[in-house]
């Protein structure tokens, strides 16, 4: 070969040489104190702890803390920023004692006045999960360590205060005179948690990095992870290979097949568990062909629920009603089953079905979620058999949500598929958010406007604190009504399937905080 191409060959050789040496260098592993979390979605859409209501929960719960924390295993509320609390006056007055020696990341000490200011600001902003504080009439701070809540109606405030959303305690004076919301969204934080935000670059693979907060009240004795890195890795196979090769410490949901293949792999540990997260298809009761109840019921009867659960290969369990097992109000035997003959009859009455007028529905799912794509494929096939053509559109979450909330009903989808999980371990969140009427729509994406349902929802939370059995009866009756009207269709309850590096010690999955890993509680081993 000639001199020129010899030069080219040399160039390629250099590349390969670099490959070799890099691998050798990568070999030596000291105890890696960075916990890297590979997430399917982008991490942060909102930094303001009062408003945050999306995927950033997995980071926020390592930066901010609540008054209390719910332990899903023991089903009890544990102390966190509050060391003790008691309720009086029939559950309408709650007194919390704050932990001493706690400092915000801004340096200011945690006082009752600061906590009160945080909760009131969250309540006033009225977005995200702020509704959880609706029961609160007023908050008093007799001294720097004591918070006294007066409620409009009895409510389980200790449980509410443990919520994964809108219950963070933060320093409202963090931005001084500047606008706090804008200050937060410049990737700043004012929490009390074990980690501080150290860098954020949107759209990059290594999107968010947290680093240890030196004077965290829990202290840093023993071995802890000093850094937390959140990576956006959309492709499931890439995430699986990263966790297997030690490229990342932890990955969120993989496809059922990938998870099954990981179980036998010695390089990783796996953990499975039930969750409070279910996949629901909301049928548009306000506009479009599904406005007709018969058509909705036909759609609900046409779906092959058993087939969906089978195709997801053990990563999900069949749903029964809207409340997952493990929460009060769970009603066994309330699930749909495929009933083709009834579906055909109902469609015929509405003038659709095989041999009659074709029906076209559009169904939206979140892009990049393999399970939702699979469900859409099966639903589309099931309905195609009934001369119903389902147009599937996979969109970015915020776009899918904005489309559903658009002012012009014609723009809204017929079937909206999304996951739901409670803000705190209580069924109330499904009903107040998903089925209570609200204008303009927020999460009530069946656009249901049913007075009886609304009044029943309004009184059930208070009942939970006072007469629990009455609350359970209400939830039961509510679910029967919603299912018979085919307002929405619960498809399945997800099982959490965790895969993480063998070097992670002390991992406990807490379904009350979906996909959240409390990194401080873990012990890195070599």
């Amino acid at each position: 070969m000639k001199k020129r191409s010899a030069v080219w060959a040399l160039l390629v050789a250099v590349c390969l040489l670099a490959a070799g040496t890099a691998l050798a260098a990568g070999g030596t592993t000291t105890v890696d104190t960075t916990f890297s979390y590979a997430s399917e979605n982008t991490i942060v859409t909102e930094f303001d702890p009062a408003v945050s209501y999306s995927n950033e929960i997995i980071a926020m719960n390592n930066v901010y803390e609540q008054l209390t924390r719910y332990n899903s295993r023991t089903k009890k509320v544990m102390p966190l920023l509050a060391t003790s609390w008691k309720s009086s006056a029939g559950g309408k007055k709650w007194t919390f004692q704050l932990r001493k020696g706690v400092v915000f990341h801004t340096g200011r000490p945690l006082t009752a006045q600061a906590a009160r200011a945080a909760i009131l600001r969250t309540k006033q902003l009225k977005s995200g999960a702020a509704y959880i504080w609706d029961a609160v009439k007023s908050i008093a701070t007799p001294n720097a360590q004591t918070l006294v809540f007066t409620l409009k109606y009895p409510a389980p405030l200790d449980l509410i205060a443990s919520s994964g959303y809108a219950a963070y305690i933060y320093d409202t004076k963090a931005a001084g005179s500047a606008n706090l919301h804008v200050w937060f969204n410049k990737a700043h934080d004012a929490g009390t948690g074990p980690y501080v935000i150290s860098s954020w670059n949107k759209g990059q693979e290594n999107e968010l990095r947290l680093t240890a907060f030196k004077n965290y009240w829990g202290g840093w004795k023993g071995t802890h992870y000093t850094d937390v890195l959140f990576k956006h890795v959309p492709t499931p196979t890439t995430r699986a290979q990263l966790v297997q090769s030690g490229g990342v410490t932890y990955t969120d949901r993989l496809s059922p097949q990938l998870f099954a293949s990981m179980k036998g792999n010695s390089a990783v540990k796996t953990a499975e568990g039930t969750s409070f997260q279910n996949l629901i298809a909301f049928l548009n009761t306000a506009s479009g062909p599904l406005k007709n109840t018969k058509v909705r019921q036909a759609v609900a009867d046409a779906i092959d629920y058993k087939g969906i659960v089978a195709a997801l290969k053990g990563s999900v369990v069949p749903a029964s009603g809207f409340i997952p097992k493990g929460l009060i109000g769970y009603t066994p035997g309330l699930g749909y089953t495929k009933n083709l003959t009834r579906a055909k009859a109902l469609l015929a009455q509405a003038g659709y079905g095989p041999g009659k007028q074709a029906l076209s529905l559009d169904l939206t799912i979140a892009n990049g979620d393999a399970d939702e794509q699979l469900v859409a494929t099966i639903v589309k096939a099931d309905l195609a058999a009934l001369n119903v053509n389902v147009q599937v559109q996979a969109l970015e979450w915020t776009t899918q949500w904005n489309k559903a909330k658009s002012k012009d009903p014609a723009q809204r989808q017929d079937i909206f598929v999304m996951y739901w999980w409670p803000d705190y371990a209580d069924p109330y969140s499904w009903f107040i958010n998903l089925f209570h009427s609200a204008n303009p729509p927020y999460f009530n994406l069946s656009y249901l406007n049913d007075k009886a349902v609304d009044t029943s929802i309004d009184k059930v939370e208070a009942l939970t604190a006072t007469r629990r059995s009455a609350a359970v009866a209400d939830y039961n009756q509510l679910q029967h009504r919603l299912i018979s009207q085919a307002v929405a269709v619960p498809l399945y309850v997800q099982k959490y399937e965790r895969v993480f590096s063998r070097s992670v010690g002390g991992y406990v999955d807490n379904p009350a905080y979906p996909n959240v890993v409390f990194v401080y509680d873990l012990r890195p081993t070599s």
């Binding site: 499931p236 097949q257 089978a310 195709a311 996979a394």
Partner: protein, 294 residues
């Protein structure tokens, strides 16, 4: 400059000479096989309904077996049947795209080459503009406007494909236009249109025929790429690119969901490219000259 435009050789002679080049012969065989599979899809596919809307979730992801030659996909559909019907989708897209591209591109090229001057320049600049737009980005816009589908993907590809033919034909047409017999025809007062139709086009079309055969592979690859990105075929249409995209997350655990559709794309594209190369050496004497090295 002697007139190098090849008069299209008789088909029998072409087939004869194809036989001599082993690679071209292999290409012809593969292409014939793909066409037969596409034509006789209903007969060949064991589960024709799996190419449509049928799903069998209980049989999801079975490995290749006697019953399912290529195994089943994540909703239990027989992959072999879908790959067979996929041949139909791919050939249909290629025919659609190349027909549009040839019908628009060739006449424009002939006019540009024949007219020369300002018209030529204008047409060529427009061609350059369209060449600057990759098919993918136009498919993106179309997917917005009309929603992603096989048809819209075909339109997007043809919008960015016709310029190649304009460029190809223009070069050929300008040589034909400058040759003696065109000048004499014009001297006899023959109208521009007749000259274009009777003289310029027939003598410029040969390279386009060669390019058409080569482009079949190219269009199939581009269409598969668009479907892979979700801008082309939508479920349940059996399209190879879409099948690779759907099976992608299963690659490490269930290899067959991705391997067979991808192999089908590769095999078909190789077939058309080999056949195209073979045709080129026969229809384009200059290339033949090059190959013989005299």
């Amino acid at each position: 400059m002697s007139d190098l435009a090849a008069t299209p050789a008789r088909p029998r002679a072409v087939a004869l000479r194809l036989g001599h080049d082993p690679l071209a012969l292999a290409g012809a065989i593969v292409v014939a096989a793909v066409m037969i599979v596409a034509l006789l899809a209903p007969a060949i596919a064991p589960f024709p309904q799996d190419a449509g809307a049928a799903v069998h979730p209980l049989d999801a992801l079975l490995p290749p077996s006697h019953a399912h030659l290529f195994g089943t996909d994540e909703v239990g559909r027989d992959i072999f049947s879908r790959v067979v019907y996929g041949a139909r989708t791919s050939l249909r897209i290629s025919l659609e795209v190349l027909a549009i591209a040839a019908l628009v591109g060739i006449p424009l090229g002939a006019i540009a080459g024949y007219a020369g001057g300002l018209i030529d320049d204008a047409i060529m600049r427009i061609t350059d503009v369209f060449l600057a737009f990759p098919a993918l980005l136009l498919a993106l816009a179309l997917a917005f406007v009309l929603g992603p589908s096989v048809g819209n993907a075909a339109i997007a590809i043809s919008i960015t494909w016709w310029p190649w033919y304009t460029r190809l034909i223009r070069a050929q047409a300008s040589t034909v236009a400058s040759s003696g017999y065109v000048a004499s025809a014009r001297a006899l007062g023959v109208s521009h249109a007749r000259i274009l139709l009777r003289h310029v086009l027939p003598n410029s079309v040969a390279p386009a025929l060669v390019q058409l055969s080569l482009d079949f592979g190219g269009v199939i690859l581009t269409a598969a790429a668009l479907s892979y990105l979700g801008l082309g075929a939508q479920d349940p249409t059996p399209e190879w690119g879409l099948m690779v995209s759907q099976g992608q997350s299963l690659f490490t655990t269930n290899w067959w969901a991705v391997t067979f559709p991808g192999a089908a794309i590769l095999l078909t594209a190789v077939g058309f490219n080999l056949l195209g190369d073979g045709l080129r050496t026969i229809l384009d004497p200059r290339q033949a000259l090059r190959d013989r090295g005299t």
